[in-house]
Subunit: 428 residues, 3 copies
C-alpha cells in the first residue's frame, strides 16, 4: 500500500515532477540503434519522459536528439530533411546540427544575426550496446554513460528489442521485479488445473541493498534437499537483470531456443505518464555459444512468438488491450494458466489491465512483495536526494560495471554466495 | 425546463452523487442471466453506476459480482480463472468466492494471516426473470429483491434482452415515458407526408401517483365516439411498463410477430454518466399463447430486425451514432417519418442525438410532457429523502407485485378504469 | 514571439472569447452552396465558431441556419424533415422556418400559446459566390454582406471548394500569409538537393496597411535585373488573396491546368478552437478564358490531385495527420523537398504538425515573418476595438470591393505600382 501522494511522486515523469527529475539524472534509452540504420537516414520520432523529440543520424554517423518543433515557427522536425550533417526543417529550410546549432537560415538575408543566436533544444547522446542513450538532466552534471555488462557483449552475443506498453512505467517494472507471479501468470503447462499446487509457489525472498540499487534472491524448495535460487539485480532507477537457467525447461523440448546460456533483463523507460517502452535485452554468458537466430526471433517480444507478434511497422503487440490479448478461455481451462499466448503478452495483460496508473492505496502487500516495497522506498529516497540538490545513487558506472545475475539449483546446504560466487561476476 | 443544478442532481450516477445514491437503494440489473450461461463459465465484465466489476457463476451456480481489480496488486479479475467455487486472479493465484472471501493465497506462506483478513468487494446478487440483479447500497438495509409480474412469467412467456446506448440514462428513460412521439418518430407508414395530420397526434395525458411511482394514461380520439387508451406504469427509479394492443396493427400484415398478446417495457440502467444499458422485456398475457420465435427475434433490439441489428459479439446497434443510424433521406421523404429503420434505432437517434447529457435548461416543455415532469419531481424528492436518511418509495415489492399495463380502444363513455379493471391486474 | 495571453486572445473562437467575438462581427462562410443542392434537400450539419448548427434550403430556396437542437426537448434537428418551407423535428413534429419561427406543434393542442412563443435560434444567411454566408454577431448591427471580386465572377470563371484541417485557424492562416515557405515546402522539382540555393529564397517583404487589412508585396530577384513581384491582400479577419502568374511554370508542361490566368485565395474559417474549414477560391481574370474542368479538378484540394485526394463523402484528405501524409522519404531525398504529394497536403503537414494550437511563446520570428506579425497586431487591435464597443475595420464592402491581387516579373527599375496599376483593379 502506498499513500496517494507518494504514488503521485513516483508515477509522474514530466519535466519538473519528482520522479521526472530523478529519471533525468540518469542516462536513458531514447531509441534502438537500429531505428536509425544508416547515416542520413530518415529521422525518427521519440517521445521520452513526456517530451516530444526527433532523432537523426547525421552524415558522419553522429546522433542528434532535438526538439520535435522548429524554433522558427514550430513546424514538425519529423518531416525534416536529413542532409549534409544536419536536419533541415521543410517549412523554411532552417537547418540544425546534432548539437542544436543553426547551420542555415535560407529564407533570411545571408548576414542575419539570428542564425548565430537561434538554437534548437538538443540532448547529448551515446550509441552503445544497440541502444541510443540520452541524458535529459542538467548540462553541468552529465554523468559518465552507463556501462552494463550486456552493453559490452559483442553483437553475436547481445540482443536488444523494445515493445510499447500502454501503462505507467512503475506498474510495468513492478511486474518485472516480481518473482512469485511466474508460477501463475507464466504457467503454460498445466496438464490439469491443480498442477500449480505441486511446485513451491511461495518462494522466500531476500533483498540486499547495493550501490546501484539492490540484489534480491528468491529461493524455492525443489524435491529432496535442493533449492532453486535466483539472484536478480535491480539497477536504479528502471532496470532489472536476471539469470536464465530455468530448470523447468529440462522437461521440455530440447529445441527450445531459450536453452542457450544467457542473462536477460528489461529497462522500463517512461514515454509519458501512461505509456512505456519496455527494452528487452539478453546477453550470452558463454563466449563459445553465440545467441542463435531462433533465440533472437523469439526474444523480439520476449518469450513471445517473435516479430510476428507485432503489428507490422510498429512496436505494438497484435494481442493487446484492445482485443483482450486474444484470451482463449478454453486454453485457459485446459492448458495454460491465463489462456493468453506469450510471456510478454501475459505480463502486459496483467500490467495494462490495472488501468493506465494503478491506485496503490488499494493494494494489500504480502511477504512476496518485499522487493517491490524496497524499490519504491529507494526511489522515494532518491527523489528526496535530488530535491535536496544531491546526487541519487548509482550514477557512477563503477557501481554496476561488474554485476551479473544468475539462477541455479543448489544441492545440500551450500550457501548460494559460495556456489554462485564466480557466476555473479561480469565476464565481458 | 430544469435548473442546471437539478439536472446535475439527476444525471450523475457515481458513488456519492445524489442520483447515484438513490439508484443504489434499489436492486438493479447487472447483466443478463444468459451472459453467464453455465457454472464455471468465463467471467463477464460489468460496468454499473460508474463502477467496474466482474461477474462470474461459480461451480454451484451462485453468482459473484466483485471488484474488477484484485485487492493484492490490482490486476484485472476479468482475466481470472473461474474454478472450484471461486474466481482466481491469474497474477499470483489469489482466489475469491462469491461473497468476496479469499479462499487461497498460494504465493504466500500457508499460514499467512493475510488470507483471513483480505476481502474483495462483492455485491449481493439474485438471478431472477432472466436477469442477474444486484444491490450496491448499504449492506444494513438490503431490501427484498424486486418482483415484477414479467419476472414471474415462465420462460415460454418471457423475453429479455439488452442494448447499449451512448447517452445518459435520464434522456433515454424520458424517451420511453414520452407517449406523443410515437405518432412522429415511429410513424413508419407515411403513404404521403400529410398522413400524420389524420390521427390524433396530441393525446390527453393524465398522471396518477402511486406507491411504486405513478401510472399515466394517454387518451386519443379514434373515429366516432371511440378512445384509444394506453395505461402505462412508471416504476421508480428506472422502469416503464406498457400494454401492447396497438390498434394500428389491425391494418397490417396478419403475420406481424407483434400480434401476440403481451405487455412490454424497459429498464434504463446507468453504466456511467454517459452510457446506459436498455433492458427490454416482454411478457405474454395469455397462458395459452407463448411468445413465438419470430417475436423473440424481432424483439432482440426492440422492434428492430432482431439479432442482425447488433454488431456481432456485442450489444451495440450496427445503425448507430457513428454512421448517423444509416438514415435514408429518400425513405424519409416517401415512406417513414425518420428514414431510420427500427423503433429502437429511431429512439436511439433521438436520445443519443441530444449529446451525452442533455442540457435541460434549454428545454420548452408543454402539456405533452406531463409524465416526464412528474418523473423528475419524484426522482428529486426521492433523492432528498435518501439525503435525509429516509427510504425512497417503492422499495417494497408489494407496491409493484400486482401491477400490469394495458392498451385498448373503448367505445362510448365507459371510464377506462371500468373497461380495463381486470386487464390491469397481474396474472402470473 | 507572442505572449501566451495574447496567443489565447487570438486562438479561441467560442462565443464570448475575444477572437470569437471579433469573428462574429464579420459575415463568415457557413458551408458551400453546393452542400444544399436543391430546395427541400436533406439538411446539413454545420459547426462554426464552436457552435453546432443545422443548415437547410427550404421549398422556396431560402437558407435556414438554426440551432442543431430542437428547443422542445433538444432532439437533433439534423435528423429533421425538410418539407413545406420549414424543418420539422422528427421527435414530436415541431416545425421551424428559416427565421426560427415555430410553424407547427402537432403534439400540443391546436390553440397552444407555446407555438407563438417558442423560437429556435436562427442566424441570417446569404447565398453568394458559391458560398452560404452567415452573420453570428449582434442582430442590431448586421453589416452589408461581403462583396469580394471572386464572388461576382460568373460561375464559368469561379471555383470554390473547402477542406477540413485539424488545427487552429490562426496557424493555418499564417501558413497562407507566409510567402517564403513556397521555395521550400512547395519545391517539387529538386533535381538535386542543392537546387534550392539557386533561386532567391529570401524575398524582401513590404507591407502596406489598408482599410480592409493590408496588402503585402514579396520581391525576389530573377536573373539579370529582373524582379518577380507578388502583390497579396490580407482581408480581415481571415482571408488571403493572391495572383497566380507563377513564372516557374514556364519551365513546365504546357498542359499544366494552372496556366489559366486567375487569382486565387483562401478563407480560414474556425470550426472550433482546434479545427478549421479552409475555403479555396479561384477567379479567372480574363473574360475570354473560363476555368477549365482540369483546373477545377485539381483545385478541389488546392494544387492536389483533385477529388481523389479526399476520403469519399467527406472534405478530409486521404493523406492526413493519421498517416503522416504518406510521406515518401525516398521521394524526399531525390525529387521534392518534403516527399509529400500536393501543395495543400504539404501545407497541412506543416500546419497540423505543430499540434492543435501552436505555442507562439517559443517562436523566433525574422524579417520573413513581417506580414504575419502585422496580421496579429491588426487582429489584436480589432479585438480591442470590439471590446470597446467599436466596429472593427473592413466591415464595409466598399473597402474590399475593388481589390485584386497580382503576380508578375518586372524588367528594369519600373516600380511595381506602375507596372501592375491596372492589373490590381477588380474587373468583375
Amino acid at each position: 500500500m502506498l499513500k496517494p501522494e507518494d504514488n503521485e511522486r513516483l508515477v509522474r515523469v514530466g519535466a519538473g515532477t519528482p520522479a521526472g527529475e530523478l529519471m533525468r539524472r540518469y542516462w536513458q534509452p531514447a531509441l534502438l540503434s537500429a531505428e536509425l540504420p544508416e547515416n542520413d537516414c530518415p529521422p525518427a520520432r521519440v517521445r521520452l519522459l513526456g517530451e516530444d523529440l526527433v532523432a537523426f543520424r547525421d552524415s558522419n554517423g553522429r546522433i542528434g536528439l532535438i526538439d520535435a518543433y522548429c524554433p522558427h515557427r514550430r513546424a514538425s522536425m519529423f518531416f525534416g530533411r536529413n542532409e549534409e550533417c544536419g536536419l533541415r526543417c521543410v517549412y523554411h529550410g532552417w537547418k540544425f546540427d546534432v548539437d542544436g546549432n543553426c547551420m542555415d537560415m535560407p529564407n533570411e538575408a545571408a548576414d542575419t544575426p539570428m542564425k548565430g543566436r537561434v538554437k534548437i533544444l538538443a540532448y547529448p547522446t551515446v550509441d552503445r550496446g544497440g541502444v541510443i542513450w540520452t541524458f535529459m538532466g542538467p548540462r553541468d552534471s552529465v554523468p559518465e554513460p552507463p556501462d552494463f555488462e550486456w552493453m559490452r557483449a559483442p553483437s553475436t552475443h547481445r540482443f536488444v528489442s523494445k515493445t510499447y506498453e500502454e501503462c505507467n512505467y512503475l506498474q510495468a517494472m513492478e511486474g518485472g521485479l516480481d518473482t512469485s507471479h511466474s508460477s501463475f501468470a507464466h504457467s503454460n503447462y498445466l496438464g490439469n488445473k491443480t498442477v500449480i499446487r505441486n511446485i513451491d509457489t511461495a518462494p522466500r525472498i531476500d533483498v540486499e541493498p547495493a550501490d546501484y540499487g539492490y540484489r534480491y534472491i528468491s529461493t524455492r524448495k525443489v524435491g529432496e534437499n535442493q533449492r532453486y535460487v535466483r539472484v536478480y539485480h535491480y539497477v536504479m532507477p528502471n532496470q532489472q537483470m536476471r539469470g536464465a537457467f530455468k530448470p523447468w525447461f529440462s522437461n521440455k523440448d530440447e529445441k527450445d531456443p531459450h536453452r542457450v546460456p544467457k542473462s536477460d533483463g528489461h529497462l522500463w523507460v517512461p514515454i509519458d505518464d501512461e505509456h512505456t517502452w519496455v527494452y528487452n535485452w539478453a546477453c550470452g554468458r558463454d563466449r563459445s555459444v553465440p545467441l542463435t537466430a531462433a533465440f533472437r526471433d523469439e526474444s523480439e517480444t520476449f518469450f513471445g512468438r517473435g516479430p510476428d507478434d507485432l503489428i507490422p511497422g510498429t512496436f505494438k503487440l497484435k494481442r493487446n488491450r484492445g482485443n483482450d490479448y486474444l484470451i482463449d478461455r478454453n486454453v485457459q481451462k485446459t492448458q495454460t494458466f491465463t489462456g493468453i499466448k506469450g510471456v510478454n503478452t501475459q505480463d502486459f495483460a496483467l500490467q495494462e489491465g490495472m488501468g493506465p496508473i494503478v491506485d496503490r492505496s488499494k493494494e494489500h502487500l504480502g511477504a512476496s512483495d518485499k522487493a517491490i516495497v524496497l524499490m519504491r522506498r529507494l526511489m522515494l529516497e532518491a527523489i528526496r536526494a535530488v530535491e535536496r540538490g544531491e546526487k541519487p545513487p548509482g550514477l557512477d558506472p563503477t557501481t554496476h560495471r561488474n554485476i551479473r545475475p544468475y539462477d541455479g539449483v543448489i544441492a545440500g546446504d551450500t550457501p548460494w554466495q559460495e556456489s554462485f560466487a564466480d557466476e555473479l561476476l561480469a565476464k565481458w
